[in-house]
């Protein structure tokens, strides 16, 4: 199976602090891969390195065999990788529809959009409506994103990530702060939206992780402790000791 995203020997230091020691990670094309780890393990840092926000101190990151370590976020996104943020990161002062428009315009190559004319523009509007529908935000389309409820903003956040049409999707705790019902809906949505795509997800909710993931990697103190299927991870004594033990205690 080809690998969609491959990290070898990735390190990240902030001054004297070594956040990521030596991360090797192989995300196969089409799989849903969950990243587990206690707080401070370096999960968000890892996402920042992959998505181009920060540059790794050492190591290589490839997206479909192309080196992306150190590229700008815009370049990484255009190469087919989209990410969401742990802290809700929408454009608060514009409407829900316009937030999604920002994502879709780029996908359709309208990065210098001076007019709203032409065939391409009709397709853009259609895909915006589609994402609105899918994220259950159609009735909120004209409201300011900043006026939405927290969980609606989380949905919008995921919708924006999906709107750019990435082949590899990074979701950073998409269900944080959601109710049971909302979580369940969001996970359903992620399942639908990632069919035929590759997903790397950070999630604390074990139920969610074991339901969604094909494989799981456990990150502890800046390096990958173990990678395997949910069953393997559940059975792994080291993982239980380092992480699951304290979570289920």
């Amino acid at each position: 199976m080809t690998s969609a995203l491959c990290l070898t020997g990735v390190q990240k230091r902030f001054g004297a602090t070594e956040v990521l020691k030596n991360v090797d990670l192989d995300i196969r094309e089409g799989e849903r891969h969950a990243l587990l780890g206690p707080n401070g393990a370096g999960k968000s840092t890892l996402f920042n390195l992959i998505s181009g926000r920060d540059r790794p101190s050492a190591g290589s990151i490839t997206l479909f065999d192309q080196e992306i370590a150190g590229l700008t976020p815009a370049r990484v996104n255009r190469l087919g990788l989209g990410r969401s943020f742990q802290i809700t990161n929408v454009v608060a002062g514009v409407s829900v529809r316009d937030n999604l428009l920002l994502g879709v315009m780029g996908l359709h190559g309208r990065r210098w959009p001076f007019s709203r004319r032409g065939q391409a523009w009709r397709r853009i509007e259609e895909s915006v409506d589609e994402v609105l529908e899918r994220m259950r935000l159609s009735s909120e389309r004209d409201r300011l994103a900043g006026d939405l409820t927290y969980s609606q903003q989380r949905s919008l956040e995921i919708g924006m990530t999906l709107a750019t049409g990435p082949r590899v999707i990074l979701l950073d705790e998409p269900t944080a702060g959601m109710s049971r019902e909302e979580t369940s809906h969001t996970i359903e949505l992620i399942e639908q939206a990632t069919v035929g795509k590759t997903l790397l997800i950070v999630e604390h909710d074990m139920e969610v992780v074991f339901r969604l993931a094909d494989r799981i990697s456990v990150l502890v103190y800046g390096s990958v402790l173990s990678t395997g299927t949910p069953e393997q991870i559940r059975a792994d004594a080291r993982v239980q000791e380092a992480y699951l033990g304290e979570a289920t205690a």
Partner: protein, 420 residues
């Protein structure tokens, strides 16, 4: 953003009325008024160009004098070239000056917009200072202290020898550019610029090169400013390097704050207000800059949305049928402000006059220690009980009325809040 819709006719009626007023203004046949109006147009266009950066992208430039000045001097030299027989059509001068502004703006914007916030402002300030120094030293191009002079040449059917023709020339260019800016802001690119201001990181992760977008915004802003500079050259037929001073850059910021950067035409409104204020109040009182400063402070403290914000707030209330609830508060508030303003002006004028050198002369010639000061046709005794009573009564009454108006305004807001 208001969801209340009214017919576009009603909504833009005031805009059409303003435009009509501007078109008909030369009928007054007052050369002074036409000249001042031309200055308002130019300052307004400059502020509109400046505010593309600030209002839309949140980038505060402290160096826009550079782009205004580049447009002015480029145009003066082109006018001289026409005079020497070059076949440049005069109405196209702003196009060429604007193009130069775009190029220089793109270059400077590339540097400045690598940073945001205060660092962006500092870089623009540094660039403007650099331009000022170059303009001062490079006498061959900028003409030193004497500056550069030129004359307007007629073109085809158009003569440009009187104030009215220059006014219409500026009006046509300003209106065209304001429409173009409006179209740009309404386009998806305008959305992109605004989103960048709100959350640049998110836009970057959606696949956009945000630095390039900022450079384009800067270039357009500089281009519009250069066109304003070009119109200025056309009007004045001369300029010197002093227009590159920081004061020019500061003025456009001041105009935009007073007009309101969040309202599309706010900057133009503020520029017109300050230009008229400087011209008419400047003619009436030595202390007009102090009054302008006071207005600036009051706007920042009590109406951070500027005059444009107040205006758009009132039109929105009128549209939603709420203006009647607020009308008494507004009327009393206006009266209170008038009383306090009269008291303030009295104090400023009396103190200012008494401190002045001409008052010392008056003392000697009249033989009195405190000769009366004439203001509004009344002789005021600087230390007279009447003077103090007048000022204190006005301020007291004004304060009481203002408090009443503010309480009434709050009540009206609460009432509306509980109704909806």
């Amino acid at each position: 953003m208001s969801r209340v819709m009214s017919s576009p006719v009603a909504r833009y009626a005031w805009l059409a009325a303003t435009l009509l007023l501007l078109v008909l203004l030369p009928l007054t046949d007052s050369a002074t008024l036409i000249n001042v109006a031309t200055k308002c147009l130019i300052a307004g266009l400059f502020a509109m160009g400046f505010n593309l950066l600030w209002g839309q992208m949140g980038l505060l430039s402290f160096g826009h004098a550079a782009y205004l000045g580049i447009g002015t001097f480029a145009t003066l030299h082109m006018m001289n070239a026409i005079d020497e027989g070059w076949g440049l059509p005069a109405p196209l001068l702003p196009v060429l000056a604007g193009a130069l502004g775009v190029v220089v703006g793109a270059l400077m914007g590339w540097f400045a917009s690598r940073r945001t916030g205060i660092y962006f402002a500092m870089i623009t300030l540094a660039v403007a200072e650099l331009t000022h120094v170059i303009a001062d030293k490079w006498q061959g191009f900028f003409g030193g202290e004497a500056g550069v002079r030129s004359i307007r040449t007629d073109w085809w059917l158009f003569g440009f020898q009187d104030a009215t023709s220059v006014y219409y020339y500026c009006l046509v260019w300003s209106v065209l550019l304001v429409i173009a800016l409006w179209a740009l802001l309404r386009s998806p690119f305008g959305l992109l610029m605004y989103a960048l201001r709100e959350n640049e990181e998110r836009v970057r992760f959606l696949g956009y090169r945000t630095h390039s977008i900022k450079v384009v915004g800067f270039a357009v802003s500089a281009g519009v400013s250069a066109v304003a500079g070009s119109l200025m050259a056309f009007m004045n037929e001369s300029a010197n390097a002093s227009m590159f001073a920081t004061l020019t850059s500061a003025e456009v910021v001041l105009n935009t704050v007073i007009g309101g950067s969040a309202v599309f035409l706010g900057p133009a409104l503020g520029a017109a207000f300050n230009t008229l204020f400087g011209y008419y109040i400047g003619g009436l009182s030595h202390f007009w800059l102090l009054y302008q400063g006071l207005i600036f402070v009051l706007v920042i403290m009590y109406a951070p949305g500027g005059l444009g914000g107040l205006f758009s707030g009132a039109t929105r209330q009128a549209r939603e049928g709420r203006l009647a609830h607020h009308a008494p508060a507004y009327a009393v508030g206006a009266l209170a402000s008038l009383l306090i303003a009269v008291a303030t002006i009295t104090v400023v004028e009396l103190v200012g006059t008494v401190m002045g050198s001409s008052y010392r002369v008056l003392r000697l010639t009249s033989g009195e220690t405190w000769p009366p000061v004439s203001l509004w046709g009344i002789d005021w005794h600087p230390l007279g009980i009447g003077t103090f009573t007048f000022v204190l009564v006005l301020i007291g009454a004004g304060t009481v009325l203002l408090r009443w108006a503010m309480a009434s305004h709050r009540q009206a807001l609460d009432r509306i809040g509980s109704e909806t």
